[in-house]
Assembly symmetry: C2
Homo-oligomer: 144 residues x 2
């Protein structure tokens, strides 16, 4: 794996992955798939950044034991299959898949397909945004 | 909010948001920010798809009670501030922020900034990918 530039502080870790078109330089288990959990020390989700070249497909169906998955397609087009049902995907398609859903996808187009996959434990979120977020009333300052 | 085309099955919900450049048609609480939890019935994460126009900034700092956040920048450039530290962000920058981190961001460039924000309960993920995923050994079939 190429070196990834990182910056950390008390409450954050930042990594620079570079242009998304270069994602295929990454991938220990699968070329073009970069997992973020270990890079960023995530504790509530695993996330992968993906570039699937034109004409390629995932070589197996899979499901999960306990984790919900969200697929966010950000560029290109392809097909996604769940429990035998085939759906077209493209930039702006988002899909929630329950743990027991049998899933596979392919890039049957002539351009690279870019997407992000997030997994989180099913039913683990009890508060969010308006209920978990705290707006701070202090002046905003930015460096010159 | 514009109508969003959806398809659902036993184990999934799919939504077509359209080209990311049209994200500014969405946003009940903030223009250009579309939350996915209620659209997809997510149970382990809240996710927003974001387009922040050139020159715009978020009008307040915020932190969280219990949720970890991940920011994934997918196009454009800007700045992110955490606990008073300012960091440049661009396509391919990913940042994990702990709940107590005081955060804000802005688009100080001349082009639109696109990013995805995911929140999940801190320390909620106990298994992932290799330990939560189940590879299925069955033949792969796609429609003609």
């Amino acid at each position: 794996m190429s070196d990834i530039a990182k910056v950390s502080g008390k409450n954050f870790t930042l990594a620079q992955l570079g242009d998304l078109e270069n994602l295929d330089q990454y991938g220990e288990r699968m070329k073009g798939k970069l997992f973020l959990k270990d890079i960023l020390n995530l504790t509530g989700m695993e996330v992968s950044m993906n570039k699937l070249p034109a004409g390629k497909q995932i070589p197996f169906y899979h499901k999960h034991k306990n984790d919900e998955e969200l697929y966010i397609f950000i560029k290109g087009q392809g097909q996604f299959q769940i429990d035998g049902e085939t759906l077209d995907v493209r930039e702006g398609t988002v899909i929630r898949v329950a743990p027991e859903g049998s899933r596979i996808w392919r890039n049957n187009s002539n351009e690279d397909l870019y997407f992000i996959v997030i997994q989180a434990a099913q039913n683990s979120l009890n508060a969010w945004t308006a209920t978990d977020g705290i707006i701070e009333e202090k002046p905003i300052t930015w460096p010159e």
